[in-house]
């Protein structure tokens, strides 16, 4: 066992050495070669860790930000209104919320398409009829669907952090990224950097120096009724948490089940180990 450990340590050193050498790259702030320029800031999230749960008040605020700001351009096709029960809403509240949307349905018995108020089983309607329309209305780049955004974005963690992440259970790369991006506007690009026409500099953007989306949030834009600060930072936190919920609505269930499974395996493992000791007690091995 000791030999294995020494070998593993040696192996780690070899890999670490190479990684350290590789990380030492030349630096020209005006012409970055790797994106994002700045790494996402690690925030503290209520749903992190083995006992993490969603903060329902935060999710409700996040939904409000999505409805009043994001949903003007971003669809959320995979999320049904009924899913919002996870935000602490009652069935009646969801019915009212869904009825506030107009759903294009049909054909009816006469063969005509028609509009009707939404039902809890409906999904959030998309702001544009198709991707082409979304792209042409937004300067050529269709705003991504938000249903899975919190799992579809993540900045590579690099060695050795990806090892530590296993022990710290870091799985919040998506919300960290979204929060950093939303709060990363309004910065002055380094002298000499070329920002393409019609795009906006953001050092947290994953795939370039700038993106088509202009700064979406400003202080006081969304009115909160629970006394939470009405700042860009707070909006960004809330909508990031909400998007994590939209992407992984069963997260709490998963972690709760996980704890039971781990406890069971520990106890069962201990019993089996003691049995094994007993069985092998009379045999030298």
């Amino acid at each position: 066992m000791k030999k294995i450990l020494t070998s593993l340590a040696l192996l780690g050193l070899v890999v670490a050495g190479t990684a350290a050498i590789a990380a030492e790259e030349e630096h020209n702030p005006a012409a970055p070669t790797h994106f994002p320029i700045n790494e996402p800031k690690e925030m503290s999230w209520s749903f992190a860790g083995p006992f993490g749960t969603y903060d329902k008040a935060q999710l409700q605020r996040g939904l409000k930000v999505y409805k009043e700001v994001c949903s003007a351009c971003h669809s959320m096709n995979l999320v049904a209104f009924r899913t919002l029960e996870g935000l602490g809403y009652s069935e009646a509240q969801i019915k009212t919320l869904a009825a506030g949307y107009t759903i294009h349905d049909g054909p009816n018995d006469a063969g005509d398409m028609f509009d009707r108020p939404g039902k809890p089983s409906d999904h959030f309607p998309a702001p544009f009829p198709n991707e082409q329309a979304a792209a042409s209305a937004n300067g050529g780049a269709a705003p991504p669907d938000m249903s899975l955004l919190a799992k579809a974005r993540g900045v590579e963690r690099g060695f050795p952090r990806f090892i530590f992440d296993i022990f710290t259970q870091y799985a919040q790369g998506g919300p960290d990224y979204i929060h950093s991006l939303l709060t990363g506007y309004d910065q002055t690009p380094p002298a000499g950097m070329v920002i393409p026409e019609g795009t906006h500099y953001n050092p947290y953007f994953l795939s370039g120096v700038s993106l088509k989306m202009p700064k979406p949030l400003s202080d006081g834009q969304v009115t909160y009724d629970d006394g939470a600060p009405q700042t860009v930072d707070q909006y960004a936190r809330d909508v990031s948490a909400f998007l994590m919920f939209a992407a992984e609505p069963h997260l709490e269930d998963r972690k709760k089940t996980g704890f039971r499974v781990m406890v069971f395996l520990l106890l069962f493992g201990a019993l089996v180990y003691m049995t094994k000791r007993r069985v092998w007690a009379d045999v030298a091995h």
Binding site: S7, L148, G269
Partner: protein, 446 residues
């Protein structure tokens, strides 16, 4: 070992009835109860059992997932999300299945490295080893096709890159590629045949597993000393000794597996695969699943042409060659001693090989940048991933083609104990005056 003397005596009427017609209870008794196993097996020998429960788990979760999955390019991505959101415990089934594939490979890599360390491939176990290599190949094909099914960006572009390898083969390459794709690009026909094959291959794996176990039961298990079983005192009965030890190994393994399923279910995946496949938008870095990364690094390490072989074909040949090496191991190793425990030099090179494989895996996840091995030698250390990959590839092949054959001829092994029993008793005498050969670590566990 299988002396062929069955010790089974049917006790009940039903057992006697079966035994006279189709002796299934006898087969089970002889294979899983009375079957003699070396008494000195350590926990590295529990991975065979672990692999069989992983295969069973993958097949069970896979069958239920297939009930809810739609293999149509317009519906596949959403059908997987429907499983995640609306199917009862669908998120659990899907995370078990996707992480199960990764842990299947974790177990198989430990199993293969165990074989390499203890010389488990040597006569008379060559066929047993080769059957294992075939299972590994089938697993790679199954894993690759399974990763395409959710139809995310990495599914699509991974499939495009990997099927593209085949076009490098002279003359028949394009034909093979089109046969795999069912067209000229990854599309609906590709997804449908990959789904069909992804459902078929696990059952082929199960078939080869039966042959693997059959071969194992003919030649018997190897053991940490590498010395064949000589007398009855060298062995214990499979049940209860191996059964209970395997059970404990399985539970420990499941603990790590569950940790990832419940707390880090997307850690081993790529975020891009949560974006639906888009043939018009290439991701910045196309990376395969982690278990293919060492081979991917070898593929991309060949950046130069060798005579008529261009770099693409050269990369593909090296990649398949890297897997082919495993098949040849029984004949590449010239040593008369099986276990690395008694081979100090082989043991050193074995661990260097493990480090090399891990390094290749890391390089496979990095962009293919840098000047290569020659510029590495003149001091281009920074960001020269290609250079490191070429050096690591060179060592990979040298380990099999040079170190293994040469070491067996020139290395002086340590003194071997006369029997398994002697080795066990020597070891148990305690710390005083380490008997030669019983000091090395891995076999002292358990």
């Amino acid at each position: 070992m299988s002396e062929g003397h069955s010790t089974y005596t049917p006790k009940t009427g039903i057992e006697r009835w079966f035994d006279a017609r189709m002796p299934l209870p006898r087969l089970i008794y002889d294979s899983f109860v009375a079957y003699p196993v070396p008494r000195n097996l350590n926990y590295m020998w529990t991975f065979g059992g672990i692999l069989s429960i992983m295969l069973a788990s993958q097949i069970l979760t896979g069958i239920v997932l297939a009930m809810h999955y739609t293999s149509d390019t317009n519906l596949a991505f959403d059908s997987v999300e429907k499983i995640m959101r609306d199917v009862n415990s669908g998120w659990l089934l899907r995370y078990l299945h996707s992480n199960g594939a990764s842990f299947f490979f974790v177990a198989v890599y430990i199993h293969i490295f165990r074989g390499l360390f203890y010389g488990s491939y040597k006569a008379p176990r060559e066929l047993l080893w080769i059957l294992g290599c075939i299972i590994y190949l089938l697993m790679m094909a199954t894993g690759f096709m399974g990763y395409v099914l959710p139809w995310g960006q990495m599914s699509f572009w991974g499939a495009t890159v990997i099927t593209g390898f085949f076009s490098a083969i002279p003359l028949v390459g394009n034909w093979i590629q089109q046969l795999l794709l069912g067209g000229f690009a990854v599309d609906d026909p590709t997804l449908n045949r990959f789904f069909a094959l992804h459902y078929l291959l696990p059952f082929m794996i199960a078939g080869v597993v039966v042959l693997h176990i059959w071969a194992l039961h003919v030649v018997g298990q190897s053991n940490p000393t590498g010395i064949e079983v000589k007398s009855k005192t060298d062995t214990v009965a499979f049940t209860p000794y191996a059964t209970i030890k395997d059970a404990f190994g399985m539970i420990v393994f499941l603990f790590f597996f569950a940790y990832f399923v419940f707390y880090l279910p997307n850690y081993l995946g790529h975020p891009d695969n949560y974006t639906v496949a888009n043939p018009l938008k290439t991701p910045a870095h196309i990376v395969p699943e982690w278990y293919f990364l060492p081979f991917y690094a070898i593929l991309r390490a060949i950046t130069f042409n060798i005579g008529p072989i261009n770099s693409k074909l050269g990369g593909v040949l090296c990649m398949f060659g890297a897997i082919a090496m495993l098949f040849l191991v029984p004949w590449l190793d010239t040593s008369k001693v099986r276990s690395a425990v008694y081979r100090p030099w082989y043991k050193l090179f074995f661990w260097l090989f493990v480090a090399d494989a891990v390094l290749l895996g890391w390089l496979g996840s990095q962009p293919a940048e840098g000047g290569g091995l020659l510029t590495l030698l003149i001091g281009e250390f920074t960001g020269n991933y290609v250079g490191y990959a070429q050096a690591a590839t060179l060592f990979y092949f040298a380990f099999f083609l040079v170190i293994m054959p040469v070491l067996g001829l020139i290395e002086t092994p340590r003194r071997l104990p006369n029997s398994i029993t002697e080795a066990v008793l020597e070891k148990n005498k305690g710390g005083s005056g380490h008997p030669a050969g019983a000091t090395a670590a891995p076999e002292t566990k358990g």
